[in-house]
């Protein structure tokens, strides 16, 4: 990969500690919290060397921009951002680059990644692709698939949905019959599935944009006595989801290496703050979790 | 010369759900006269006035103004025709100044900029007040004014439109004799300028002091019209109530007993100072004074609505702490407040709920309400006070003002009070009902209870009280036994001029 040289850092603030500001898209998001754990763990592993500030952007791009501006005026040595939206990163990238503060994006790839900024994470669309390819296999290349989307304006939701759609397009026997949002929520996933099942339309598989919605769908399916007749796949590989894979209720989920992404981002931040060079794109791939390999992810 | 009418209303009918408020009525007002519109509470007077000012649309009938048939879809239309109105329900905008209230919708602007000329507005208000002999600062907010001054502002506002026809719906319900006299002076002056006035009141004497013609309604129907000269008071009242009515006050002697309530040196800084008085069983104690004398403040403080700075209250000889109306009610006191709308009615609740609210405990079986008892008692009260409402589940806000007042009185009667405090109890109440309330007061006194009555109608104070306390600017200036008191004396002490000799 191409490497970026850190632009004019002084290698830490007055007291010798490296100050890192982290703006996370949403603290209500379970996956992102596991990623935060990864960052924390890495920072702690360095002893008292790093001083980290976490802020919650509450899924609002302008709030995130405010937070990055605040970090800049606080004189952070590096800034880590889990972008709310990858197409709204231009102003913060420009501000950080202009001030010579290294900016590391995690988890979601911004469209605009100028010199001086870095990305750590995976391709969102892959999650949908992995998930759907496995479902297609289970379906034997025919049947009706329904998609449960996350928040409609949310990028991960759109990319994962796109991934599912791409795979379905390659399988003429499979049809997407319904696409609807359950806003990342287990409760809404359950409600939506109940309503879909009520409608009496044939459903063979559910591709959910995250695990919580998938788990909600499973509960509705189980209540309707259809467990085993409808395949369900989620994304994130949360502990709850792994437990359901183990129980044989969830057919698949996609492991996104929260720890790896979080730790990787923090590592990059510390390195850049110290003036060391890192790759501009640090890829941490998705992995499919199925009953065959769930033990590796427990 | 044929009589020239400024307003001719014919065959007006107005229905509300469950009520025919106006049934084919008529009203003809001669130019440059004061026309009294008389009738009991709920006769339909206000309803008719609201059709003139464009708030109500009549279901049937025609309105001619200055000889031409007119449609009045909204108030704006009425105002531009040259009709303005003093509403029975006062309508202040509390957080705006007096001047802003008066000139709402007609603000003077600076040039053509659309910017309000606030200074000019205040000057205009001052000019208006000067002309009308009113001493109110136009810069203060409406909420600072007493209810009496609020009414005066509304009078001034209606007059300031320079209309050809001014409707006055009970303009004197909240003000005292002094201001009434001033209002009459203004009215005479307006008459000289050919302004016509429709005058609604429940104070019979006012009619003969100021009005030229009289029209009487009863139960939404037109009963008749005549000139004030031709139509005598007894005859008019008979037309209003449909039967003979004895006009003297129903003061019946009661045995005066022990001291029931005694108030010592009650003070609330800025409102009243060192107010002391005693109240005995069987007594009706009148409170007289000009507006702003602080009578309302005293009894609201006594009742625990506000907190006293210093002073003591004794009930049956025992010192009591009254920190809230709840405490006062526990000590068997009851207070009919002065401001019906603000502190009296639960407007969106039914007549029934309004009646029982101060004493629900009386209507419960254990945890639950005894709805049957509530219904029976309320129906009884409705009959007793002749409250005009289609049913007791009617919302109180749909009742006429006087009938609302009756509902509130029965609320307090239902608490079985030992001390009944009435602040302007007959405000807006018709002659018949007034007599009923007076009878009731006498009856309570005879039962060994006691009544405090604040009233700005001197004849009422003189007619009903065993003793009269007179207040002036927050201080008690005099106290008189029934036999020693006269109207002149009260006025002297109420204006503070008793010290001048």
């Amino acid at each position: 990969g191409c490497s970026s040289s850190p632009a004019g850092t002084d290698g830490g603030s007055g007291d010798g500690k490296i100050k890192v500001g982290v703006s996370i898209a949403n603290f209500d998001d379970t996956f992102l919290m596991y990623m935060k754990d990864g960052m924390d763990a890495y920072a702690k592993s360095l002893g008292g060397e790093v001083d980290v500030t976490y802020v919650d952007a509450k899924e609002d791009a302008p709030t995130q921009l405010n937070q990055v501006e605040n970090f800049i005026s606080q004189g952070m040595d590096a800034i880590i951002v889990v972008p709310v939206n990858t197409q709204a990163t231009e102003p913060m990238s420009n501000s950080a680059v202009a001030e010579g503060i290294p900016l590391i994006y995690v988890n979601r790839v911004p469209d605009y990644l100028p010199e001086g900024t870095t990305f750590v994470g995976s391709e969102s669309i892959d999650a949908g692709i992995f998930q759907m390819e496995y479902l297609a296999e289970l379906l034997g290349d025919e049947g009706n698939v329904v998609i449960m989307q996350g928040r409609l304006d949310n990028e991960a939701s759109q990319k994962r949905t796109e991934g599912v759609q791409q795979v379905v397009a390659e399988h003429p026997g499979i049809e997407i019959t319904k696409t609807q949002t359950a806003n990342w929520s287990r409760e809404e996933g359950m409600t939506l599935m109940e309503n879909w099942l009520s409608s009496g339309d044939k459903i063979n598989a559910v591709a959910a944009n995250n695990d919580d919605m998938a788990l909600g769908a499973i509960m509705a399916i189980e209540a309707a006595g259809l467990l085993g007749e409808i395949f369900v796949a989620g994304v994130d590989a949360t502990p709850d989801a792994i437990a359901q894979v183990e129980a044989g209720k969830l057919d698949a989920t996609v492991f996104q290496d929260a720890n790896g992404q979080g730790g990787g981002a923090m590592e990059a931040a510390v390195n850049l703050a110290k003036g060391n060079a890192v790759d501009q794109y640090i890829w941490i791939p998705f992995q499919l979790v199925t009953p065959d390999n769930y033990q590796d992810f427990k | 010369m044929a009589t020239e009418y400024i307003l001719e209303m014919e065959n007006i009918t107005k229905r509300f759900p469950g009520v025919v408020a106006l049934d084919n009525v008529q009203l003809k007002v001669r130019k440059g006269t004061v026309h009294a519109l008389m009738g009991e509470n709920g006769a339909g007077k206000s309803t008719l006035m609201k059709t003139i000012i464009g708030i109500n649309q009549p279901d049937e009938g025609t309105i001619k103004f200055k000889g031409e048939k007119v449609e009045i879809p909204d108030t704006n239309a009425a105002l531009s025709l040259g009709i303005s109105m003093i509403h029975q329900e006062l309508n202040p905008i509390p957080h705006m100044t007096v001047a802003e209230n008066i000139f709402l919708g007609r603000e003077p602007v600076i040039g053509k900029s659309g910017f309000v000329d606030k200074k000019q507005m205040v000057r205009d208000a001052e000019k208006l007040f000067d002309r009308l002999g009113i001493a109110i600062n136009p810069r203060v907010k409406m909420k600072e004014l007493s209810i009496a001054n609020t009414q005066i502002v509304e009078i001034a506002k209606a007059i300031s439109y320079n209309s050809d026809l001014i409707i006055m719906d009970e303009p004197t319900s909240a003000i005292t004799e002094k201001e009434v006299a001033n209002l009459f002076k203004i009215i005479r002056d307006l008459k000289k300028h050919e302004v016509s006035i429709i005058y609604i009141t429940h104070k019979m004497d006012e009619v003969y002091k100021i009005c030229d013609d009289i029209t009487v309604f009863r139960d939404g129907q037109y009963i008749g019209s005549d000139t004030a000269e031709n139509l005598g008071k007894e005859e008019m009242i008979k037309m209003m109530v449909g039967r003979e009515l004895n006009q003297v006050f129903h003061k019946e002697e009661a045995e005066i007993g022990d001291v029931l309530l005694s108030v010592k040196n009650l003070t609330r800084k800025g409102e009243f100072e060192n107010v002391s008085f005693e109240l005995r069983r069987g007594e009706i104690l009148g409170f007289a004074g000009l507006m702003g004398a602080g009578r309302t403040e005293v009894i609201e403080c006594l009742f625990g609505v506000t907190k006293a700075d210093t002073g003591e209250v004794y009930v049956q000889g025992k010192k009591v702490e009254i920190k809230s109306p709840e405490d006062a009610i526990k000590h068997k006191m009851a207070l009919l407040t002065e401001d019906r709308k603000l502190t009296g009615c639960f407007l969106v609740l039914s007549v029934k709920d309004n009646m029982i609210m101060a004493n629900i405990d009386k209507f419960t079986n254990g945890l639950f309400l005894n709805k049957k008892k509530i219904k029976n008692v309320c129906l009884e009260e409705k009959d007793k006070l002749k409250i005009k409402t289609p049913h007791i589940n009617q919302l109180i806000r749909n009742l006429s003002g006087g009938n609302q007042q009756k509902v509130l009185i029965s609320r307090w009667l239902l608490t079985d009070p030992e001390v009944l405090i009435l602040d302007e109890p007959t405000r807006g109440i018709d002659v018949g009902a007034k007599a009923e309330i007076h009878k009731l007061m006498s009856k309570l006194a005879q039962q060994g209870k006691a009544v405090i009555m604040i009233s700005s109608e001197l004849p009422e104070v003189l007619g009903m009280s065993d003793r009269v306390v007179v207040m002036h600017e927050g201080k008690v200036t005099g106290e008189f036994e029934r036999q020693d008191v006269s109207q002149e004396m009260i006025m002297k002490f109420a204006t503070g001029t008793h010290k001048d000799h």
Binding site: L152, Q180 | L342, F346, I360
Partner: protein, 338 residues
């Protein structure tokens, strides 16, 4: 006298004439609701199936519980923006005490497998305390309920996140899950709970002194004070009951999804307020009923369900939902709710 009786007859006959109009006025929202049901059963054959109808009611049971408390609060001219967050807080607290012993990642490894009454009491207590704080702040400091409960909305969500460290608390005991998923005689338990609470709340508002006082405080607070009501005390009680119901909703919700999550209930406060207002509760106080609110919640529930059944696309669902809610309130003739 003759006139009197004549007049009564006139009034009566008119009454009969206007009876239909009056019925629509009084039951307008019910009729609108029935219209929606009729339309949906034509459009989607699945709609009227028992199973789907049970679904709808089960789905609204959480909002229904919250909306009843909110109704009472709104009747007193208050508002409760904190219900969604209180749901979350009660859900995580209750869930943390209802975890299965076999779950490795239990929040309190020493406190698993407790009798179901423990998490239930804990969840209800959390809601009750939150409500009591709301009520006390509002009654004692006289700040607007909007601000007080907005504060609680933020604080309770923060505490829920802190308590759960942003993560779901899962793997709950069967007996706890029963609250959200169980059935009694074929009727889902949340529905039974909603019905019982609705009956209790309706009785409370309609047949008790407390109920009359709620309406009185909303109708005219100053008049209530003068009538001898201890308004502060009742306000505290009212918000406390609302908090209790939110706490119960949090338990039902977490039991329904077998997981207490700090993000639960987001935006539920608006749905609850909307249910109350659609059902005829006046935001200027003094007016509102429990049956009305339940119909309001049903309208929202039927709408969500129906649009899913009809497979209306996600974006359009929002648009249609907004229009129908406004339309229903416009058609409803009881207008004085603002």
């Amino acid at each position: 006298m003759k006139n009197e009786s004549e007049k009564k007859v006139v009034t009566m006959s008119k009454d009969y004439k206007e009876l239909t109009k009056d019925i629509f006025k009084k039951y307008g929202i019910v009729i609108i609701f029935l219209g929606m049901v009729a339309l949906l059963s034509v459009l989607s054959p699945a709609f009227l199936q028992t199973r789907n109808l049970l679904n709808v009611v089960r789905q609204i049971s959480v909002i229904g519980l919250v909306a009843m408390g909110v109704t009472m609060v709104i009747i007193t001219t208050g508002i409760d923006l904190s219900s969604g967050s209180v749901i979350a807080l009660s859900a995580v607290v209750a869930a943390s005490l209802a975890q299965r012993p076999d779950w490795a990642a239990a929040k309190f490894p020493g406190l698993t497998g407790l009798p179901v009454i423990v998490p239930i009491m804990a969840g209800l207590a959390v809601g009750t305390i939150a409500g009591c704080i709301n009520g006390t702040v509002i009654a004692k400091t006289k700040i607007p309920p909007f601000i007080a409960t907005l504060g609680m909305m933020t604080v309770a969500r923060g505490v829920a996140l802190l308590y759960a460290d942003g993560r779901p608390i899962s793997s709950l005991t069967e007996s706890y899950n029963f609250i959200g998923q169980g059935e009694v005689l074929g009727i889902p338990f949340p529905i039974i709970l909603l019905a019982i609470m609705a009956l209790a709340m309706h009785t409370l508002l309609n047949n008790t002194k407390f109920g009359r006082y709620v309406y009185a405080i909303g109708g005219n607070e100053q008049a209530a004070v003068v009538s001898g009501l201890n308004v502060s005390k009742y306000k505290i009680l009212i918000y406390t009951i609302a908090g209790f119901l939110s706490g119960m909703a949090g338990i039902v919700l977490s039991a329904r999804i077998s997981s207490g999550q700090p993000g639960l209930g987001l935006g539920y406060e608006l749905d609850a307020i909307a249910s109350a207002v659609i059902g005829g509760t006046s935001l200027s106080g003094g007016i509102g009923t429990i049956p009305g609110t339940i119909v309001g919640a049903l309208i929202i529930g039927v709408l969500n369900n129906g649009l899913d059944l009809l497979n209306v696309s996600a974006y359009w669902q929002q648009i249609v939902k907004g229009l129908i809610i406004v339309g229903a309130v416009i058609l409803d003739e009881r207008k004085n709710r603002s």
